[in-house]
């Protein structure tokens, strides 16, 4: 009896230990090529992490898995691509833990805002060194998108898809304001606010005060966040043009023309509901909204227009994803082959049919011709700029929103808020 109990206990200990170890180590995501064979001969499986299926939308993963990857595999015998879809909210954490555990895939579709951060940590391979023909591909893409791959004198990826924010409004809102077309300038927007005063429609709504939200106004107002060489923010973010642009928004906020959604009221109606519901007259948003509204508000006919122009013109912010290769990959040649494939017209145009805007300028023009919906976004992209390409871009976002919130709430001035934000961003820039 005693012996059998002991055996039982030992078995359970071993089982528990195995379980714990299995949980800790996981399995290697990359299939190992056999050691003796050369890379060109041995079959290679590339693992790619991405967020194409975000929101349960299978249209993009279907195109990738059923059309593009088979096409790549057909033209590259011996290489298989295993795409793993990861929810957007989890990908950054998965990359972080993957880097810590030395278990990264061979290819990653990364948010443009993460490339500098992971590059500075040494997670990514510099593609301009790994690919002899890098500049051929780089030169074909939009400069604003390409810039998001740069860190410390190297490029760590190539643009994969892009997007930008444009002004979106509705005919009902224009009618209420007595306008025949969307507000094209800062002055038009302010006039719209006057016309809508007391009508229970907010003139403009946005869901935060981070770079993604506030930079289109600062740039269009003629301001900047830093100098071109990323050495100082003081003198730029707190310059007269930046202050004036933000002041315009603060004035609209004070008049009640911008709801407190912008200062972080998570209980306010979201922009994607408020615009079709007639609560908000204008918002800034991206091309992905077409499918969302088509599903949730089939009756709603959004009107797309450029970001209202200020003294600096109409300048929006670049969004999108880049394709990067973790430095730990054992299949660099195969991985760079797939990167080249993502830059092809075949790949770019196939993805354009399911809502991903091309990053290659020639493909972008073709996509806009094929689907006029993309035209306003393609026009806006020509001048759109990226947010700061530094490892601490997430900290810049929290600095901007923390400092600007009290300025909107009236407890400090815009000048004081931006001066303080610029000083903190200076500190981040000097630490690089």
């Amino acid at each position: 009896m005693k012996r059998s109990l002991t055996t039982l206990t030992v078995t359970s200990v071993v089982a528990a230990a195995t379980l714990a170890l299995a949980g800790c180590s996981g399995s290697s995501p990359t299939a190992d090529a056999s050691d003796g064979a050369t890379e060109t001969v041995a079959p290679v499986t590339l693992t790619m992490w991405g967020t194409y299926g975000n929101g349960g939308n299978t249209a993009q993963t279907d195109v990738l898995n059923q059309t593009l990857i088979p096409s790549f595999e057909a033209s590259h015998p011996g290489i298989t691509v295993d795409y793993v879809d990861i929810p957007y909210a989890d990908l950054k954490q998965k990359l972080t833990t993957g880097a810590a555990a030395d278990e990264l895939p061979d290819l990653v579709r990364s948010d443009i805002g993460w490339v500098a951060q992971f590059a500075s940590l040494g997670v990514l391979a510099p593609l301009d060194q790994e690919m002899d023909d890098f500049s051929t591909y780089a030169d074909a893409t939009y400069p604003g998108s390409l810039a998001t791959n740069a860190w410390d004198g190297h490029h760590y990826g190539l643009p994969l898809d892009t997007n930008t924010r444009v002004l979106v409004t509705s005919q009902a809102a224009l009618d209420a304001a007595g306008l025949s077309e969307p507000p094209a300038t800062f002055d038009d927007l302010q006039a719209m606010a006057t016309a809508l005063a007391g009508k229970d429609i907010a003139t403009f709504a946005d869901s935060g005060l981070q770079g993604w939200n506030i930079l289109p106004w600062i740039w269009s107002g003629g301001g900047e966040i830093t100098d071109a060489d990323l050495t100082t923010s003081t003198g730029y973010l707190d310059g007269a043009e930046s202050v004036a642009a933000v002041q315009m928004l603060v004035d609209l906020y004070t008049q009640g023309a911008i709801p407190n959604l912008i200062t972080g009221n998570s209980g306010a109606t979201s922009t994607s509901d408020g615009l079709p519901a007639g609560q908000y007259a204008t918002i800034l948003d991206g091309p992905w909204m077409r499918d969302i509204w088509a599903g949730q508000y089939p009756e709603f006919a959004p009107i797309y227009a450029p970001v209202p122009a200020g003294p600096g013109g109409s300048i929006s912010v670049v969004g999108g994803e880049n394709i990067v290769i973790p430095a730990t990959t054992e299949h660099m040649d195969a991985a760079t082959e797939f990167v080249r494939f993502t830059q092809s017209e075949e790949f770019q145009l196939a993805m354009a049919t399911v809502g991903q805007m091309p990053v290659v300028e020639s493909a972008g023009t073709k996509a806009a011709d094929a689907d006029p919906f993309y035209a306003p976004f393609a026009t806006q992209l020509a001048t759109a700029k990226p947010r700061l390409v530094i490892p601490q871009s997430s900290e810049v976002d929290s600095i901007l929103s923390t400092e600007l919130t009290p300025a909107f709430e009236g407890t400090t001035t815009v000048q004081a808020a931006l001066t303080s934000a610029a000083k903190q961003i200076d500190a981040l820039l000097t630490s690089n």
Binding site: A20, T263, G264, N265, G267, S394, S401
Partner: protein, 318 residues
């Protein structure tokens, strides 16, 4: 045939192989309890103790997340940074406010409901289940639910304005620090009452009926019986509930992350959301770990102090 009345040692001397078996049996006998402990212990050490030690170690480094990268030892720099970081202090204050707002109602209401549900009645199991239901419901689900309840056009504003006629219902609950903390605390209270109720119900079963009857005979009214009979009898449970709730209060995370995300402008950040942001958004694992270690020390000191207080007063009365 072996003479079982002779001592084992004698038998062992006669039969060396029997001695080995006996020794092995004795060893196995002593090892058995540890072997039973082992599965849980392996998991506990692997999944809790080891990460804790690592976090403690990380807090003294400018920690590089990449496997194999060299991290720089920076001593107490991360701790010094926390001391001078206004968001850290605001997070600590918010965690404290949440604890202060949510713990007393959970104790008082939990005990009250337990008293009401103590008496036997046919409907009593139904009520127990209903009060306990929030405890086993997912934090994510109820956080989103409360976010919608407290939205600008949510049920709370509607009820305040159109049903109770208190104000015009235009309060943006989640847009400022204090109203948002009230909303988050309301969720904590609603979700936590069932748990304290369950502990109190169990403790109330142990209150001797003879004491209650004796107090009744002595002419004690309901409040007096509660104060001098019930409360002293459930004292250990009371101490346990308060200590656990205070620890839980400082560990508030999911509800804040989902209801306000620490906004607006970091006004509702609590220690754990700030720690999470430093570690997983800014990838500053050293600073994030330092915040975690500081939180652990604060909770440890508070818990020790509470246990001392309860122990001390308990002896005086005993």
């Amino acid at each position: 045939m072996i003479d079982s009345t002779r001592p084992v040692a004698v038998r062992a001397a006669e039969h060396p192989s029997a001695a080995r078996t006996a020794r092995r049996r004795r060893l196995a006998g002593r090892a058995t309890p540890y072997l039973f402990l082992a599965p849980a212990l392996v998991l506990f050490v692997g999944l809790i103790v080891y990460p804790m030690i690592r976090a403690f170690q990380m807090s003294f480094y400018d920690w590089k997340v990449l496997a194999g990268a060299t991290s720089t030892f920076i001593g107490f720099d991360n701790y010094a940074r926390a001391m001078g970081d206004p968001v850290f202090w605001r997070g600590l204050a918010n965690s404290g406010v949440y604890m202060a707002l949510s713990v007393p109602p959970q104790v008082v209401l939990g005990l009250l409901i337990a008293m009401l549900l103590k008496s036997k009645s046919p409907s009593q199991p139904v009520y127990r289940v209903l009060f306990y239901l929030p405890v086993v419901t997912s934090w994510v689900v109820v956080s989103l639910l409360f976010k919608y309840l407290f939205a600008d056009q949510g049920l709370i504003n509607w009820a305040l304005a159109d049903v109770l006629h208190l104000g015009d219902g235009s309060t943006s609950w989640l847009s400022s620090r204090w109203t948002a903390l009230i909303a988050i605390s309301a969720l904590g209270i609603w979700k936590g009452i069932g748990w304290s109720m369950m502990i109190f119900l169990a403790a109330l079963q142990g209150v001797p009926e003879s004491l209650e009857e004796a107090a009744l005979m002595d002419g004690a009214n309901r409040w007096q019986r509660f104060r001098v009979v019930t409360v002293p009898a459930i004292r250990p449970a009371l101490a346990f509930v308060i200590v656990m709730l205070v620890i839980g209060g400082f560990n508030v995370f999911t509800s804040v992350l989902l209801m306000t995300g620490g906004g607006p402008g970091g006004q509702t950040e609590v220690l754990l959301t700030y720690m999470y942001r430093q570690a997983f958004t800014n990838l500053d694992f050293g600073y994030g770990s330092a915040i975690a270690v500081l939180l652990t020390m604060i909770v440890l000191v508070l818990s020790l102090a509470q246990m001392r207080i309860f122990h001390g007063t308990g002896q005086e009365e005993g």
